[in-house]
Amino acid sequence: MRTENGALEGVENLKTVHRSVRRVDGLALACGTAQFTDDVDIRGLLTGKILWSPHAHARIKKIDVSEARKIPGVRAVLTHRDVPRVPRTTAGQGYPEPSPYDSVVLDDKVRFVGDRVAAVAADSPEIADKALAAIRVDYEILPAVFDPLEAMRKGAPVIHDQPDSKHIADAQKNIACKFDFEVKQGEWFSGADAIIDKTYKTQYAQHCALEPHVTITYLDGNDRLIIRTSTQVPFHCRRIVAQSLKIPIKRVRVIKPRIGGGFGAKQEIVLEDICSALTLATRRPVKIELTRKETFISTRTRHPSVIRLKTGVKKDGAITDALMEVVVNSGAYGTHALTVMMCAGSHTLPMYKIGNIRFDGRSVYTNLPIGGAYRGYGATQGFFAWESQMDLMAEAIGMDPVEFRRKSYIRAGETSPVFKAMGEGREGVPQTIVSSGLFEALDKALEAGGWAEKRRAYARQTGVLRRGIGLACLMQGSGIAEIDMGAATLKLNEDGSFNLLIGATDIGTGADTVLSQIAAEVLGVKETDIIVTASDTDVTPFDVGAYASSTTYISGHAVKKTAEKIREQILKVASGILDEKVEDLRLEGGMVAAKSGAACKLAEVANTSLYYRDQHQIIASASHFSHTSPPPFAAHVAEVEVDTETGQVTVLRYVAAVDCGTAINPALAEGQTEGAVLNGISFAMTEEMKFAPGGRTLNGTFRKYKLFNTLDTPPIVTILVPTYEPSGPFGAKSVAEISINGAQAAIANAICNAAGVRLYDPPFTPEKVLAALKKRS
């Protein structure tokens, strides 16, 4: 099945997998008929709104809602006195979550500008606004802290001083989480010919899914709570809402409609708990829909980081030592704080062959917006540091940066002690790299980027405009080993079509299509013969949800196992119909075909089993989890032009070569790559949340927080490098996150190549580039 380099042989024999079939939901989305959370009309729907804290750090001394409650049309006003106080995390992670239990539905303390104070439900948005304005809050304003390094110092304001929180590493020092480890093979830095010690800083950024967070809740006839919501994690949502409101899980049903993008922001209970509380209080349907500004100020962000990287390198290119100190700013609450911080190391360090390794990680509370899951999940921050440092190390020993990288990267058959030392929030799982297209991806990206000739051509430039080319290589995981689990159910209908029920959560990635393709391949039908019902906690089996690049690899495997069980059942029935042995039968083109040439349609199999003989429903379920998380690999090449008079950097072209194993749907895998690349580029160039001295978000609109549009976007070249990962369905690994990790380093390296200045603090704005140019001259 596999060639020497791991590429899949006989891919051409696959009928549905490894083909760029149309999205199964594509036409509905193109025609505007696909239903997103808010695309339903519900009679008697109330508008829910939240009162946000205007202060970065304050205690609510008194809150008077009597005037608000008197306003006609106001149906509920909730404060901390009206909801259960259950410390929990809003992070949608597997149970028990590795994030501290440091938040409650509504608290008597606020910890950032944009924290929840109260919530109202009213007959109209206008009345809800009036009610919010009528709530009188008497705050005791507390000193606030905005810098994570300051927050750890003695005497800094303690942000989480409440006694009932759980699992905070050191609340007195505002340390939400910490993780350290060391692998020592010799004396520190004794073998190094050169030592590079640099500090890299990444900025506050937001996901900016085009669909803002929105939740609709209502009670059904049996008084069960139905939550229709824009979520990546329906099953975690059900569990956390039940926990937060002290109601049984069996009373809660979460339905995920079409989702307008998530990128990690919706791997989080952002509105579901408070919207549910309003429905329980009013017994009415309630919708909370955030405005764009509310999304910016109150939801989740990419953890800003300060990463010190001290590395030793020998003249022959061996990396002798790496000390990685990571401080992430967790903002007001510690959602994903431990795991994002750890992934800055666990998703980067294993790619390099290193002698001594030490990782010191801290996630620190400040009075700024909350960090959370964001595509790349720490690896983005870590790779900016690492792949910048790789150029610096190569330069220090006078080695070509490509040659240096070839010597340093992990190869198939090799392992890293980091895999075992660092998992997600706990010890990891040892693993050996089985499939790797890293070096092939590197070759292809260099070739497509015109590396050799451009590197030469750009070596000696004069004049105002200077061009440069830069490189970064990357890895990620495919799901979380021994944590992530997905399950599927399939059943056969009379016409030979199938219902596929999956907990897996398509948030716009194309997962419904990819999973249909996997089922169709096993069952010998077209993907359009598979009807997908996904992510309804009453109807579909469990799945952890859409995160950690897990859906194709984990949920896809569950679908494959399920389809294989169904195939057995079909063949058994067909064996009776055709009077042939099961082992002589195969599924093909919607038929069961025998070696003898005899055949029957799947419809006949279905009708026989449902109506005629030994009547039963052909139906099966299967689950999958994995002992390994095989990394996808990628090589990115960025080409830039630097205006040395203005400091303006223009990205001219970007090449991304990706090894995602077998691409189940190459067009969708390319689309994931292109989208991740562009998000990475705009994160490197323009995106940064800015705050007033008191902690208020200054640029919470698309006018002031700049995403790249069609005119800003440079040509993006995507190259898929096929390998075969035996532990994945049809050889697949993940693709969703990896390509967001490259742009900051590739562009920083390209700017350095162009203009001879190195930047350590994205975004690479004209001011910063100009300042660096001035400092040099």
Partner: protein, 173 residues
């Protein structure tokens, strides 16, 4: 994307107002509509309330383009227009182009190229492309990028969406 009100004052002045409610006569996807609206209703809210859910609300400040519809053939941000400004005008929403059984060539092309991910921006994207192709049947890549520059997409790198518009233009020939 900027709405134009040239020569429309008289039409708006003709709107009947009673007890704070206005009755607006407009045409959506070829069918005459009579809407009871509040004077401060935006076109996006009126459209969504009337069942045209394909127009999406992404920012309400005219910056993202998810709400784009065609007003007399021109792509506009419906979140910035007052509903009253649609008096006596022709609105095309995504529902007016085609259905999953009978899609418009642009809708088909966006699916064929893989230009759709979450799909939230796609109605605005396709309508902006339609406005372009209606006046420029064979656009250059630069013209396509300019026509789509008012619609933000966070899922894609715009690569396959630009390809989709090219493909639709080629197929029309």
């Amino acid at each position: 994307m900027k709405p134009s009100n040239k020569g429309r004052k008289s039409a708006v002045a003709a709107i009947k107002v009673q007890d704070g409610w206005m009755t607006v006569e407009t045409t959506v996807n070829g069918a005459r509509q009579s809407w009871k609206i509040r004077p401060d209703d935006f076109l996006l809210d009126a459209l969504r309330r009337e069942g045209f859910k394909g127009a999406k609300k992404g920012c309400e400040t005219g910056d993202c383009g998810s709400c784009a519809v065609l007003l007399d053939g021109k792509a506009v941000a419906s979140c910035l227009l007052l509903a009253a400004q649609s008096q006596d005008r022709e609105i095309t929403t995504i529902e007016g182009l085609g259905t999953p059984s009978e899609p418009h060539p642009l809708q088909e092309a966006f699916v064929d190229t893989g230009g759709i991910q979450c799909g939230f921006c796609i109605p605005g994207m396709i309508l902006s492309a339609k406005a372009l192709l209606d006046r420029t049947p064979s656009p250059t890549e630069a013209e396509i990028r300019r026509a789509l520059d008012g619609v933000l997409c966070r899922c894609t790198g715009y690569v396959k969406q630009v390809q989709a518009v090219k493909l639709a233009a080629e197929r029309k020939k």
